[in-house]
Protein backbone atom coordinates (compact mmCIF):
# COMPACT_ATOMS: atom_id res chain seq x y z
CA UNK A 1 0.00 0.00 0.00
CA UNK A 2 1.43 3.31 -0.98
CA UNK A 3 0.67 6.17 1.32
CA UNK A 4 1.01 9.81 0.55
CA UNK A 5 2.97 11.19 3.42
CA UNK A 6 2.18 14.73 4.36
CA UNK A 7 5.12 16.90 3.48
CA UNK A 8 7.97 16.65 5.95
CA UNK A 9 6.34 13.84 7.90
CA UNK A 10 7.97 10.54 8.67
CA UNK A 11 5.90 7.34 8.70
CA UNK A 12 5.77 5.94 12.21
CA UNK A 13 3.50 3.05 11.48
CA UNK A 14 2.04 1.63 8.35
CA UNK A 15 0.38 -1.49 7.14
CA UNK A 16 3.13 -3.97 6.27
CA UNK A 17 3.58 -4.70 2.62
CA UNK A 18 2.85 -8.42 2.94
CA UNK A 19 -0.54 -7.71 4.51
CA UNK A 20 -2.88 -7.64 1.55
CA UNK A 21 -4.89 -4.44 1.38
CA UNK A 22 -8.34 -5.91 1.83
CA UNK A 23 -10.77 -5.94 4.71
CA UNK A 24 -10.90 -9.16 6.66
CA UNK A 25 -13.86 -11.37 7.46
CA UNK A 26 -12.91 -11.41 11.13
CA UNK A 27 -15.34 -10.13 13.72
CA UNK A 28 -14.75 -6.67 15.17
CA UNK A 29 -11.87 -6.74 17.62
CA UNK A 30 -10.70 -10.26 16.77
CA UNK A 31 -7.08 -10.97 17.68
CA UNK A 32 -6.38 -12.89 14.48
CA UNK A 33 -6.06 -9.55 12.70
CA UNK A 34 -3.24 -8.43 14.97
CA UNK A 35 -1.40 -11.74 14.61
CA UNK A 36 -1.73 -11.58 10.84
CA UNK A 37 -0.18 -8.14 10.83
CA UNK A 38 2.70 -9.23 13.06
CA UNK A 39 3.46 -12.16 10.78
CA UNK A 40 3.39 -9.91 7.74
CA UNK A 41 5.74 -7.51 9.49
CA UNK A 42 8.20 -10.18 10.56
CA UNK A 43 8.26 -11.98 7.22
CA UNK A 44 8.76 -8.64 5.55
CA UNK A 45 11.54 -7.55 7.86
CA UNK A 46 13.37 -10.85 7.43
CA UNK A 47 12.86 -10.70 3.68
CA UNK A 48 11.08 -14.04 3.62
CA UNK A 49 7.98 -13.18 1.63
CA UNK A 50 9.26 -14.64 -1.60
CA UNK A 51 10.30 -17.99 -0.18
CA UNK A 52 7.67 -18.59 2.44
CA UNK A 53 5.21 -21.43 2.09
CA UNK A 54 2.61 -21.05 4.79
CA UNK A 55 0.01 -23.55 5.89
CA UNK A 56 -3.48 -22.36 6.74
CA UNK A 57 -5.55 -24.08 9.42
CA UNK A 58 -9.21 -24.92 9.52
CA UNK A 59 -10.67 -22.32 11.83
CA UNK A 60 -11.48 -18.67 11.45
CA UNK A 61 -7.94 -18.17 10.15
CA UNK A 62 -8.45 -20.51 7.21
CA UNK A 63 -8.67 -17.30 5.19
CA UNK A 64 -5.20 -16.18 6.26
CA UNK A 65 -4.23 -16.71 2.63
CA UNK A 66 -6.57 -13.91 1.64
CA UNK A 67 -4.66 -11.50 3.84
CA UNK A 68 -1.02 -12.53 4.05
CA UNK A 69 0.63 -12.28 0.67
CA UNK A 70 2.69 -15.46 0.51
CA UNK A 71 2.17 -18.90 -0.97
CA UNK A 72 -0.24 -20.98 1.07
CA UNK A 73 -1.48 -24.52 1.36
CA UNK A 74 -4.77 -25.25 3.07
CA UNK A 75 -4.45 -28.14 5.51
CA UNK A 76 -7.25 -30.37 6.69
CA UNK A 77 -8.40 -29.53 10.22
CA UNK A 78 -5.51 -30.04 12.62
CA UNK A 79 -3.04 -31.38 10.09
CA UNK A 80 -1.05 -28.23 9.37
CA UNK A 81 2.11 -29.61 11.03
CA UNK A 82 1.98 -32.74 8.87
CA UNK A 83 1.33 -30.72 5.74
CA UNK A 84 4.22 -28.45 6.67
CA UNK A 85 6.48 -31.44 7.28
CA UNK A 86 5.79 -32.63 3.77
CA UNK A 87 6.65 -29.21 2.41
CA UNK A 88 9.75 -28.90 4.56
CA UNK A 89 11.14 -32.23 3.45
CA UNK A 90 10.82 -31.61 -0.27
CA UNK A 91 11.63 -27.89 -0.25
CA UNK A 92 14.70 -27.42 1.93
CA UNK A 93 15.08 -23.82 0.75
CA UNK A 94 11.60 -22.71 1.63
CA UNK A 95 10.67 -20.91 4.80
CA UNK A 96 7.76 -22.90 6.22
CA UNK A 97 5.22 -21.42 8.59
CA UNK A 98 2.09 -22.91 10.11
CA UNK A 99 -0.81 -20.97 11.58
CA UNK A 100 -3.30 -22.79 13.80
CA UNK A 101 -6.06 -22.12 16.26
CA UNK A 102 -6.46 -23.92 19.54
CA UNK A 103 -9.15 -26.26 18.30
CA UNK A 104 -7.01 -27.06 15.31
CA UNK A 105 -3.71 -27.49 17.12
CA UNK A 106 -4.67 -28.63 20.60
CA UNK A 107 -7.65 -30.88 19.84
CA UNK A 108 -7.89 -32.71 16.53
CA UNK A 109 -4.31 -31.91 15.59
CA UNK A 110 -2.62 -33.03 18.79
CA UNK A 111 -0.77 -35.96 17.25
CA UNK A 112 0.51 -33.93 14.33
CA UNK A 113 1.90 -31.06 16.39
CA UNK A 114 3.44 -33.37 18.98
CA UNK A 115 5.24 -35.35 16.31
CA UNK A 116 6.35 -32.39 14.23
CA UNK A 117 7.82 -31.04 17.46
CA UNK A 118 9.20 -34.44 18.37
CA UNK A 119 10.96 -34.72 15.06
CA UNK A 120 12.40 -31.26 15.60
CA UNK A 121 11.02 -30.44 12.19
CA UNK A 122 12.38 -27.09 10.96
CA UNK A 123 9.11 -25.25 11.14
CA UNK A 124 7.82 -22.05 12.69
CA UNK A 125 4.44 -22.69 14.25
CA UNK A 126 2.06 -19.88 15.18
CA UNK A 127 -0.60 -21.04 17.61
CA UNK A 128 -3.44 -18.61 18.25
CA UNK A 129 -5.07 -19.68 21.48
CA UNK A 130 -8.37 -17.92 21.98
CA UNK A 131 -9.74 -20.62 24.23
CA UNK A 132 -12.68 -21.37 22.01
CA UNK A 133 -13.78 -22.75 18.66
CA UNK A 134 -14.44 -19.46 16.94
CA UNK A 135 -15.38 -20.57 13.49
CA UNK A 136 -17.98 -23.15 14.38
CA UNK A 137 -19.82 -20.99 16.87
CA UNK A 138 -18.09 -20.80 20.20
CA UNK A 139 -17.73 -24.36 21.43
CA UNK A 140 -15.32 -25.39 24.16
CA UNK A 141 -11.69 -25.88 23.13
CA UNK A 142 -9.05 -27.93 24.95
CA UNK A 143 -7.66 -24.62 26.21
CA UNK A 144 -10.98 -23.24 27.47
CA UNK A 145 -10.55 -22.23 31.11
CA UNK A 146 -12.34 -23.89 33.98
CA UNK A 147 -15.63 -22.18 34.61
CA UNK A 148 -15.72 -20.61 31.16
CA UNK A 149 -19.06 -20.87 29.36
CA UNK A 150 -19.24 -21.92 25.76
CA UNK A 151 -21.96 -23.27 23.52
CA UNK A 152 -20.82 -26.79 24.36
CA UNK A 153 -20.17 -26.13 28.05
CA UNK A 154 -23.20 -23.96 28.70
CA UNK A 155 -22.86 -24.23 32.46
CA UNK A 156 -19.15 -23.45 32.38
CA UNK A 157 -16.27 -25.87 31.99
CA UNK A 158 -16.02 -28.33 34.86
CA UNK A 159 -12.86 -30.38 35.35
CA UNK A 160 -14.69 -33.52 36.36
CA UNK A 161 -16.99 -33.47 33.37
CA UNK A 162 -15.10 -31.65 30.61
CA UNK A 163 -11.54 -32.19 31.72
CA UNK A 164 -8.78 -29.73 32.46
CA UNK A 165 -7.42 -27.04 30.14
CA UNK A 166 -4.36 -28.40 28.39
CA UNK A 167 -1.09 -26.44 28.66
CA UNK A 168 -0.15 -27.32 25.12
CA UNK A 169 2.99 -25.26 24.68
CA UNK A 170 4.44 -26.36 28.00
CA UNK A 171 3.74 -29.92 26.98
CA UNK A 172 5.49 -29.52 23.67
CA UNK A 173 8.38 -27.69 25.28
CA UNK A 174 9.62 -30.76 27.11
CA UNK A 175 10.57 -32.40 23.83
CA UNK A 176 14.20 -32.10 22.80
CA UNK A 177 13.27 -31.35 19.21
CA UNK A 178 11.71 -28.06 20.27
CA UNK A 179 14.35 -25.37 19.92
CA UNK A 180 12.17 -22.46 20.93
CA UNK A 181 8.76 -22.04 22.51
CA UNK A 182 7.21 -18.83 23.72
CA UNK A 183 3.83 -17.43 24.59
CA UNK A 184 2.75 -13.94 23.62
CA UNK A 185 -0.53 -12.11 23.75
CA UNK A 186 -2.50 -9.40 21.95
CA UNK A 187 -3.67 -7.74 25.12
CA UNK A 188 -2.07 -4.33 24.54
CA UNK A 189 0.57 -2.59 22.50
CA UNK A 190 3.56 -3.58 24.66
CA UNK A 191 2.43 -7.20 24.75
CA UNK A 192 1.93 -7.09 21.01
CA UNK A 193 5.44 -5.77 20.65
CA UNK A 194 6.84 -8.65 22.70
CA UNK A 195 4.79 -11.13 20.73
CA UNK A 196 6.37 -9.77 17.58
CA UNK A 197 9.82 -10.35 19.04
CA UNK A 198 8.89 -13.97 19.85
CA UNK A 199 7.61 -14.47 16.33
CA UNK A 200 10.75 -12.98 14.90
CA UNK A 201 12.94 -15.23 17.01
CA UNK A 202 10.86 -18.27 16.05
CA UNK A 203 11.50 -17.47 12.42
CA UNK A 204 15.21 -16.99 12.95
CA UNK A 205 15.38 -20.32 14.75
CA UNK A 206 14.17 -21.99 11.60
CA UNK A 207 16.56 -20.03 9.43
CA UNK A 208 19.41 -21.07 11.72
CA UNK A 209 18.36 -24.70 11.36
CA UNK A 210 18.01 -25.21 15.09
CA UNK A 211 14.77 -27.12 15.26
CA UNK A 212 11.10 -26.68 15.82
CA UNK A 213 9.89 -23.29 17.00
CA UNK A 214 6.46 -22.38 18.28
CA UNK A 215 4.84 -19.19 19.45
CA UNK A 216 1.52 -19.44 21.20
CA UNK A 217 -0.43 -16.20 21.18
CA UNK A 218 -3.23 -15.92 23.67
CA UNK A 219 -5.95 -14.02 21.93
CA UNK A 220 -9.52 -12.89 22.26
CA UNK A 221 -12.66 -14.07 20.51
CA UNK A 222 -15.28 -11.50 21.42
CA UNK A 223 -18.05 -13.29 19.57
CA UNK A 224 -17.22 -16.72 20.92
CA UNK A 225 -16.84 -15.32 24.41
CA UNK A 226 -20.10 -13.40 24.14
CA UNK A 227 -18.46 -10.07 24.96
CA UNK A 228 -17.71 -6.73 23.44
CA UNK A 229 -14.20 -6.43 22.06
CA UNK A 230 -13.19 -4.24 24.98
CA UNK A 231 -14.57 -6.67 27.55
CA UNK A 232 -12.78 -9.50 25.78
CA UNK A 233 -9.46 -7.68 26.03
CA UNK A 234 -10.06 -7.11 29.72
CA UNK A 235 -10.76 -10.78 30.24
CA UNK A 236 -7.66 -11.65 28.28
CA UNK A 237 -5.60 -9.47 30.62
CA UNK A 238 -7.30 -10.23 33.90
CA UNK A 239 -8.18 -13.88 33.55
CA UNK A 240 -6.58 -15.65 30.62
CA UNK A 241 -3.06 -14.23 30.96
CA UNK A 242 -3.07 -15.32 34.60
CA UNK A 243 -3.49 -18.93 33.54
CA UNK A 244 -1.52 -18.97 30.34
CA UNK A 245 1.40 -16.82 31.33
CA UNK A 246 3.21 -15.06 28.52
CA UNK A 247 6.96 -15.37 28.21
CA UNK A 248 9.64 -17.59 26.72
CA UNK A 249 8.88 -21.17 27.72
CA UNK A 250 11.95 -22.86 26.40
CA UNK A 251 14.94 -21.72 24.41
CA UNK A 252 17.37 -24.45 23.47
CA UNK A 253 19.15 -22.40 20.87
CA UNK A 254 21.94 -21.62 23.30
CA UNK A 255 22.61 -25.34 23.75
CA UNK A 256 23.87 -26.11 20.27
Amino acid sequence: MTTVAPAGSRVIFERPELLIDRSTHYCPGCGHGVVHRLIAEVLGELGLGSRTIAVAPVGCAVFAYDYIGVDFVEAPHGRAPAVATGIRRVRPDAFVLTYQGDGDLAAIGTAEIVHAAGRGELLTAVFVNNGIYGMTGGQMAPTTLLGQRSTSSPGGREAAFHGYPIPMTEMLAIMPGVAYAARGSVVDAPAIGRTKQYLRRACEVQLEGRGFAIVEVISNCPVGWGMTPTESIERLRDVVAKQYRPGVIVDRTGEG
Binding site: M1, V4, R10, G29, V34, A189
Partner: protein, 104 residues
Amino acid sequence: MIAVAQDSLALPGAELPAPAGSAPGTWSPLHIATDRCKGCSLCIGACTKGALALDETRVNVLGYHPIQLIDPAACTSCALCARVCPDSVFTVFAALKTPRGTSR
Protein backbone atom coordinates in the same frame (compact mmCIF):
# COMPACT_ATOMS: atom_id res chain seq x y z
CA MET B 1 -30.90 10.34 6.12
CA ILE B 2 -27.50 9.23 7.32
CA ALA B 3 -24.97 8.81 4.57
CA VAL B 4 -22.95 5.67 4.04
CA ALA B 5 -19.31 6.47 4.63
CA GLN B 6 -17.19 5.93 1.52
CA ASP B 7 -13.47 6.28 1.37
CA SER B 8 -10.36 4.20 0.74
CA LEU B 9 -11.86 1.49 -1.36
CA ALA B 10 -9.40 -1.17 -0.34
CA LEU B 11 -8.02 -1.52 -3.81
CA PRO B 12 -4.47 -2.79 -3.56
CA GLY B 13 -2.15 0.05 -4.37
CA ALA B 14 -4.80 2.74 -4.19
CA GLU B 15 -3.64 6.00 -2.71
CA LEU B 16 -4.99 6.97 0.62
CA PRO B 17 -7.39 9.88 0.52
CA ALA B 18 -7.05 12.80 2.85
CA PRO B 19 -7.27 11.64 6.44
CA ALA B 20 -10.86 11.22 7.38
CA GLY B 21 -12.24 12.74 10.50
CA SER B 22 -10.07 15.78 10.47
CA ALA B 23 -11.50 19.14 9.64
CA PRO B 24 -10.89 20.10 6.04
CA GLY B 25 -7.62 21.84 5.57
CA THR B 26 -6.07 20.75 8.87
CA TRP B 27 -3.22 18.26 8.85
CA SER B 28 -3.59 14.97 10.71
CA PRO B 29 -0.97 12.57 11.99
CA LEU B 30 -3.27 9.64 11.20
CA HIS B 31 -4.52 8.22 7.96
CA ILE B 32 -7.62 6.19 8.65
CA ALA B 33 -8.84 3.56 6.20
CA THR B 34 -12.35 4.20 7.41
CA ASP B 35 -14.12 1.50 5.51
CA ARG B 36 -11.96 -1.23 6.89
CA CYS B 37 -12.78 -0.16 10.44
CA LYS B 38 -15.13 -2.45 12.32
CA GLY B 39 -15.84 -0.13 15.17
CA CYS B 40 -14.38 -2.47 17.76
CA SER B 41 -13.13 0.47 19.85
CA LEU B 42 -9.92 -1.24 20.90
CA CYS B 43 -7.90 1.70 19.58
CA ILE B 44 -9.99 4.03 21.70
CA GLY B 45 -8.96 2.10 24.80
CA ALA B 46 -5.35 2.08 23.68
CA CYS B 47 -5.09 5.79 23.06
CA THR B 48 -3.87 7.46 26.23
CA LYS B 49 -4.78 10.86 24.84
CA GLY B 50 -8.45 10.22 24.30
CA ALA B 51 -8.03 11.37 20.75
CA LEU B 52 -10.24 8.75 19.09
CA ALA B 53 -13.96 8.02 19.01
CA LEU B 54 -16.45 6.19 16.83
CA ASP B 55 -18.38 8.29 14.38
CA GLU B 56 -21.92 7.40 15.39
CA THR B 57 -23.29 9.48 12.57
CA ARG B 58 -22.01 7.22 9.85
CA VAL B 59 -22.06 3.56 8.86
CA ASN B 60 -19.31 2.33 6.60
CA VAL B 61 -19.53 -0.22 3.81
CA LEU B 62 -19.09 -3.02 6.31
CA GLY B 63 -22.02 -1.78 8.35
CA TYR B 64 -20.07 -0.31 11.27
CA HIS B 65 -19.67 3.12 12.79
CA PRO B 66 -16.07 3.92 11.84
CA ILE B 67 -13.36 5.40 13.99
CA GLN B 68 -12.43 9.06 13.77
CA LEU B 69 -9.68 11.21 15.22
CA ILE B 70 -11.64 13.64 17.29
CA ASP B 71 -8.70 15.53 18.66
CA PRO B 72 -5.86 15.73 16.13
CA ALA B 73 -4.00 18.20 18.25
CA ALA B 74 -3.80 15.79 21.16
CA CYS B 75 -2.37 13.02 19.04
CA THR B 76 1.29 12.34 19.72
CA SER B 77 1.72 9.82 16.91
CA CYS B 78 2.53 7.20 19.52
CA ALA B 79 0.89 4.59 17.27
CA LEU B 80 -0.56 2.63 20.17
CA CYS B 81 -3.86 2.72 18.35
CA ALA B 82 -2.28 1.32 15.21
CA ARG B 83 -0.54 -1.47 17.06
CA VAL B 84 -3.68 -2.78 18.70
CA CYS B 85 -5.98 -2.32 15.70
CA PRO B 86 -6.85 -5.80 14.38
CA ASP B 87 -7.77 -4.35 11.03
CA SER B 88 -4.69 -2.25 10.33
CA VAL B 89 -6.83 0.77 9.78
CA PHE B 90 -4.22 3.35 10.73
CA THR B 91 -1.18 4.82 9.06
CA VAL B 92 0.64 6.99 11.56
CA PHE B 93 2.88 9.87 10.64
CA ALA B 94 5.28 11.61 12.93
CA ALA B 95 3.59 14.47 14.69
CA LEU B 96 4.60 17.90 13.39
CA LYS B 97 5.08 19.33 16.88
CA THR B 98 8.35 20.99 15.96
CA PRO B 99 8.61 22.45 12.50
CA ARG B 100 12.05 20.93 11.85
CA GLY B 101 11.61 17.33 12.73
CA THR B 102 9.55 14.66 14.32
CA SER B 103 8.45 14.49 17.88
CA ARG B 104 10.29 11.25 18.74
